[in-house]
């Protein structure tokens, strides 16, 4: 029973990340996802210290502020101080992450997070934090409900915002020329990424969020040229990584999140080999014909 909840939660988180990550990939902003996932740590820790609990709402606010802070810091360093972009990103998120770790070490009593958990989450504990419905008859883990809602929210967002995401990802200058506010779209999109990062932090940890954002979409991108197909394939690989990853972790008695990512990486490798063989054989064909 517990296994089902863990797998379901993992799959929901992975699929949410797959949807957003596909556009992150197309917008060539994969490293911004990395930056945000590190930078939200101090926000989460402070929220924890203030609220004294794992109240998601306060954590969401704390982390969103941290996400906003890192974005502003990067902008300040890059645009106003004219520091190169990669260094602006690198310095900003490592600094914020360091602050987060220091806070955890300094306030270990108040903060119920340990350093390792921060990196790779505690999805194994998901089934033990339950919410009860209908007078105790029905229950679901809190995390599963939240990831379910998050997935629905993200799915709705992608469906409604599909055209806007397409044009601002493909040709932002052209979009601007039509009067579309690419800045607004960027901020809304990054907010969705931040919200997802924060809510999934507890479950899969900082670094592994990045993997879920990038790897299944990258795998899908290698296999198809159509956007709708890419999104569907990304969802499939995400779900498979979650399901298979759980069993791999059980087999090896290892971190579930780590196993999910390793499996996602394995799928990517397969797709990579497949696409290289396919392109070689196309070249041979062309060579033979021409």
């Amino acid at each position: 029973m517990e296994a089902i909840f863990i797998i379901l939660t993992g799959a929901l988180v992975a699929m949410t990340c797959a949807l957003l990550g596909s556009f992150l990939l197309l917008r060539k902003m994969a490293m911004l996802g990395d930056a945000i996932s590190h930078a939200v740590l101090p926000g989460i820790v402070l929220a924890f210290m203030i609220s004294g609990s794992r109240d998601n709402f306060i954590m969401l606010i704390g982390a969103s502020l941290a996400g906003l802070l890192v974005t502003l810091l990067i902008e300040l360093l890059h645009k106003k101080i004219h520091l190169q972009e990669d260094a602006s990103i690198g310095i900003s998120f490592t600094w914020l992450f360091a602050i987060g770790v220091i806070l955890i070490s300094a306030y270990t009593e108040q903060v119920d997070l340990d350093q390792d958990c921060v990196l790779y989450g505690e999805i194994a504990y998901v089934p033990f934090d339950l919410i009860y419905f209908s007078g105790g008859e029905l229950f679901f883990p809190r995390a599963t409900i939240i990831s379910g809602l998050l997935f629905l929210l993200t799915l709705g967002f992608v469906l409604v915002a599909y055209k806007g995401l397409k044009i601002t990802s493909f040709n932002s200058d052209y979009a601007k020329s039509l009067g579309i506010s690419t800045l607004a779209w960027h901020l809304v999109f990054m907010s969705m990424v931040s919200i997802t990062t924060v809510l999934s932090f507890e479950i899969v940890g900082a670094i592994l969020i990045v993997a879920l954002l990038v790897v299944p979409p990258a795998t899908a991108y290698l296999l198809t040229k159509r956007l709708k197909q890419m999104l569907v394939l990304a969802l499939i690989f995400a779900a498979l990584s979650a399901i298979g990853g759980y069993y791999l972790a059980v087999l090896l008695d290892a971190s579930i999140a780590g196993a999910m990512v390793s499996l996602a990486g394995f799928f990517f490798l397969l797709a990579l080999i497949f696409s290289r063989i396919r392109s070689r054989s196309l070249k041979v064909d062309a060579h033979l014909k021409g």
């Binding site: 360093l77 101080i81 520091l83 972009e85 260094a87 990103i89 992450f97 990045v210 990038v214």
Partner: protein
């Protein structure tokens, strides 16, 4: 306070080892990281740092020991593989570079975490302390470790010094490097190798997650102070070393505190201060420069008003009062008063009771500004083919910018004209 003295007396051998080791690690990472910074590959360094984790785990699993040399070999292989993978994915697929970096970073790290937790849970004993690689725990450094790191750090230094010229060209001007026959591929491979090595040992102090900071942040700080590569490398090493020392100090004073984040904290603060306060390139100096410019502009605009009223319109030989001046040009009262004060201080203006008058050197200066304005208008009209009614705004700005050297060029270009396109005379001072 006693503790701080105790630390710096270096009488405790552990303190000696830990602080020396951390400083060496930090310095070699900072030097190597400077090249990564110049090639704009900060995030690649981050990826490599995360990617060495599985190498360490596998090395441990295969050898059953925590011998640092063995683990470092594992780290090297893993790091090297990651570098190759990022390049391969970028070159051979339609995936972009940033995706390749994020992918390699997270997948390798995920595999590393999976193996690490597997080791921890398998209870084979002897496995504790492997997770120090995540955040760094310099306190566990032994004398043997110190020797290993010193040798490696020295090696890195030797490589950088002997290949200095080639690395310099490659970092600042890779296209030129390729064209001028430098073995670009070999240089890139050596630089990659050296970077992976520096990272493999550097994570002892700051851990995997924050390693990128140790590579890039000192370089960013150094860059704010200079554009000379030699000085940059020296400064980066210095800043890295200081941060390493301060991280060790804080860890010593408060054992619950991890070394890594405090090293990064020190680095970040030094860097942010540098970016803000460094002369010339710093943000503060830029703000001050802008203020100087606004003052110069106000001063010179005021001089022009004096010139127009007293010389051209021949008003009041005895001087002008503030009201007449204010009527001529719209400047707000406080700026106006401040400018008058500055002009008086430079002795370009003389006060005669209520009235103000240009001094003789003030007149020379006023003529210069008016001359530049009208010369520039000639230039705009003749060389840029702008019509008479379109040249004034740009000339208003340029009159403050043209240096004496450029004025000489301008005069030669236009062949010492006597009138501007509006037929106003161009004043010369002799």
């Amino acid at each position: 306070m006693n503790d701080v003295w105790a630390f710096f007396s270096f009488s405790d051998p552990t303190v000696r080892i830990v602080s020396l080791g951390t400083v060496f690690l930090a310095m070699s990472a900072s030097v190597v990281g400077t090249f990564a910074f110049l090639r704009k590959r900060a995030l690649v360094g981050d990826a490599i740092a995360h990617a060495i984790l599985p190498g360490i785990a596998i090395a441990f699993m295969l050898s059953g020991t925590k011998n640092p040399i063995v683990l470092m070999m594992g780290a090297l292989i893993s790091g090297w593989l990651a570098t190759w993978a990022m390049e391969y994915i970028t070159e051979k697929t339609k995936l972009s570079n940033d995706t390749a970096v994020a992918l390699v970073l997270s997948v390798f790290f995920g595999i590393g975490i999976m193996l690490l937790t597997h080791i921890q849970h398998s209870g084979s004993g002897n496995q504790s302390g492997l997770d120090q690689y995540l955040f760094g725990k310099a306190a566990g450094m032994t004398e043997q470790d110190l020797w290993t790191y010193s040798v490696v750090a020295l090696l890195l230094l030797i490589v950088v010094i002997s290949l200095y010229k080639e690395l310099k060209v490659y970092s600042f001007n890779p296209d030129f490097a390729a064209v001028s026959g430098l073995p670009v591929k070999a240089i890139r491979r050596i630089l990659n190798l050296v970077t992976v090595l520096a990272i493999a040992i550097g994570i002892q102090s700051v851990g995997v997650v924050l390693m990128a900071a140790l590579l890039i942040t000192p370089a960013a700080a150094a860059r704010a102070w200079t554009s000379s590569l030699k000085i940059m490398l020296f400064l980066a090493a210095l800043i890295g070393g200081i941060s390493g020392l301060s991280g060790s100090l804080i860890s010593y004073l408060s054992p619950a505190m991890p070394t890594g984040p405090w090293i990064v904290m020190t680095l970040s603060i030094i860097t942010l201060l540098s970016l803000f306060f460094a002369p010339q390139r710093g943000a503060l100096s830029r703000l001050l420069k802008q203020r100087r410019h606004s003052q110069k502009i106000l001063n010179e605009n005021l001089l022009k008003v004096f010139y127009k009223l007293s010389v051209e319109r021949k008003l009041e030989e005895a001087g002008l009062n503030v009201g007449e001046l204010q009527a001529e040009r719209a400047i707000n009262k406080s700026d106006f008063a401040a400018a008058i004060k500055r002009l008086k201080r430079k002795n370009w203006l003389l006060a005669e009771g209520e009235k103000l008058k240009l001094s003789s050197i003030g007149l020379v200066e006023a003529k210069r500004v008016v001359r530049l304005h009208r010369l520039w208008e000639m230039y705009l009209s003749q060389r840029l083919n702008l019509k008479e009614d379109h040249i004034h705004p740009n000339a208003e700005s340029m009159e403050h910018i043209i240096s004496p050297e450029l004025e000489a060029l301008l005069l030669k270009e236009l062949d010492f004209p006597t009138q501007d396109p509006h037929n106003s005379p161009i004043p010369y001072s002799n």
